[in-house]
Amino acid sequence: MLPRFATLLAGLGLTGLAQAAATHYPLTIDNCGKPQTFVQAPQRAVTIGQASTEMFYALGLGDRLAGTSLWFNNVLPEYQAQNAKVPRLADNEPSFEAVVGKRPQLVTVQFEWMVGAQGAVATREQFDELNIPTYLLPSDCEGKDNLVGADGTRLQAFQVDSIYKSISQLAEIFDVQARGSALNAELKGRLDSARAQLAGKDLSTTSALFWFSSADLGIAPYVAGRQGVADFMLRTLGVRNVVTSSEEWPTVGWETLAKANPTWLIIARMDRRRYPADDYQKKLAFLHSDPVTRNMEAVQRNRIIILDADAMQAGIRLFSGVQTLSAAFASGNAGQ
């Protein structure tokens, strides 16, 4: 673990304390169109969504968590110690009562479809009635309409600033602003170093395709469209996404994808086993055996990058994902 925490402490010791202002309560912040007021730093919080949970751990706020939920896979190894002390309310979406039963002073939510106008857990108003503030990660509400389309529709491209914003706002709510700015500085530094790795390399004709999964092997796969996090990663590095749909995860036929002939294929690795194609090894086997995809340039030259699915979501994991991609693009081989 400790490299990140060490950086963080270094930040705290050297510059953080000098710069960071203390939070003045009562604090009111505007979150996804609803003002939320905090009379003190919450002592007990519940998270719905792994990305928000891991932000707490990255800020060293694990001791303030009274419960976590909506897990997509194992917690990052560096946060295992913090996570072991926090009860897990549910693997999937928690029930409203399970959340409320923890008497939380804050509920942090990764997706608006969990807590929002059509929330699977509850609406924000239901929490308002109990005087429980809710904090939705801005990455899921700013520039995004979650009432349109299966996974919501991004009205504008994903902005990495929304991640920095959630970190600094959470830091402000918990009065740990120094840790927030140190974490943000570290994350920005990682993007810069990923870009620097590709400096001077001509990527104008380089293109890529993100394959998340497929409902069955061989059928039109879920791929990353424009506007989402995956596309942001490519844009950051100056590589073109061959998929032009503005949906976040559209399904596009292999005929179209094979004709687009991307320079790189990026396939998702995940713990989920809902569909056969969730297994990245099944994806690889398909790519090498299908009569069309096996002729794609990226397959023949073995330019297939295996990337954790969580790096393609709006959370702190996307920064290591960008670094994985830039290493592959820089060296010209996929690495795994």
């Binding site: 909506l70 897990w71 997509f72 896979n73 693997d91 999937n92 979406e93 479809w113 299966a150 996974d151 497929s214 409902a215 069955d216 092997l217 061989g218 059928i219 039109a220 879920y222 998929v243 032009t244 749909s245 995860w249 559209p250 399904t251 596009v252 036929g253 292999w254 005929e255 179209t256 094979a258 004709k259 002939n261 995940m270 713990d271 989920r272 086993r273 809902r274 569909y275 056969p276 969730d278 297994d279 099944k282 299908d290 009569p291 069309v292 002729n295 794609m296 699915a309 979501q313």
Partner: protein, 338 residues
């Protein structure tokens, strides 16, 4: 006799044209020349130099999905005709017997329990699930209905569908890792994009045998249109025939569901449309419905590939989108006629 061979020739010509169209039109712009060259290479070893990706697209993607679309359309429409006649219910359709619900449970179970490693594919799971649901519905209908009991079959089908849909939802909710996306069971809307040659070798013979079995019983089906009692008075062993034909329809539907998912509308509407146009005689209605179903599904599949450039719409959405207005048109234009 001459009229019959003439009709058969025209039907085959229409089918061939539709298959060619399905092979030539697709997501990407391939020149007709390239398509023709690929077909010539594969069929007569013509040896034209073509890009291997183009060749794969034409021969392994487009041709196979068009052939399977034809087989599926024909199979589902045939099943629709048979069920509507046997149950004497205009709402009868292939998925009535709980098959699509059972298929989704089976497919989800295979995915969640990781049977995938035991070489049990999602399709096999879907097939077994469909058969399990059908068996349950059959037992329920038999236990509930004393006589021929059409209503019992239909109600048992509804109960079975609800039960298996609930099971699917339960399995998904209980699965250990959450979904990052909401897109659930895309597969159930019907999807032809995963079709390759092995599916063709399964779907085409099954559709043809289903059609032949039903054609063999065309007179029985005619008798059933006037009710089980009149069929019995003609000396037809009612329960045995009913069981045989329903099972045949269920088997064909289960195979189709396991290959392409649940494509709605074809099995419901094509039989009605052709009955309105040709009358209720099954010696004409059965082959005409099979042909109509095949052509309709090929056309729907072509549309699903080109309506939104760069993206494929689930074919079930297209069948309902074009099927509903076309059917309304036929209903209105035949108003007042028997």
């Amino acid at each position: 006799m001459l009229r019959l061979s003439c009709a058969v020739a025209m039907a085959l010509a229409a089918l061939l044209l539709a298959v060619l169209a399905g092979t030539a039109i697709g997501e990407s712009d391939l020149a007709p020349v390239v398509v023709a060259q690929v077909l010539a290479n594969q069929l007569w070893q013509a040896g034209y130099p073509v890009d291997p990706i183009d060749a794969g697209i034409v021969w392994n993607y487009r041709l196979t999905r068009t052939l399977v679309a034809a087989a599926c359309g024909a199979g589902l429409a045939t099943c629709g005709v048979v069920l509507q006649a046997l149950l004497r219910n205009p709402l009868a359709e292939p998925y009535l017997l709980g098959l699509s619900a059972g298929a989704s449970t089976g497919a989800v179970l295979v995915g969640l329990l990781g049977f995938g490693s035991l070489a049990l594919s999602m399709s096999a799971g879907a097939f077994l699930g469909a058969l399990a649901a059908f068996a349950l519905v059959l037992v329920l209908a038999r236990t509930a209905g004393g006589g021929s009991g059409n209503a019992q079959v239909i109600l048992a089908g509804i109960a079975g569908s609800q039960l298996f849909n609930a099971l699917t939802a339960l399995l998904i909710t209980m699965s250990a890792t959450a979904e990052q996306a909401r897109g659930i069971l895309f597969w159930l809307l019907g999807n032809l994009s995963g079709v390759r040659w092995p599916s063709v070798w399964l779907a085409v013979p099954v559709a043809l045998s289903g059609l032949l079995v039903c054609l063999w019983h065309r007179r029985t089906l005619d008798a059933f249109t006037f009710g089980a009692d009149s069929a019995a008075s003609l000396g037809i062993p009612v329960r045995r025939t009913q069981l045989l034909l329903i099972s045949c329809a269920a088997l064909v539907t289960a195979v189709m569901v396991s290959i392409v998912g649940a494509i709605g509308f074809v099995g419901l509407v094509i039989p009605h449309a052709l009955r309105l146009l040709l009358g209720p005689g099954h010696s004409r209605l059965l082959p005409a419905s099979a042909l109509g179903g095949a052509l309709f599904l090929i056309a729907a599949d072509i549309l699903s590939r080109i309506l939104i450039p760069g993206q494929v719409i689930p074919v079930g959405v297209v069948t309902a989108l074009i099927g509903a207005p076309v059917f309304a048109l036929i209903l209105v234009s035949r108003r007042g006629r028997p």
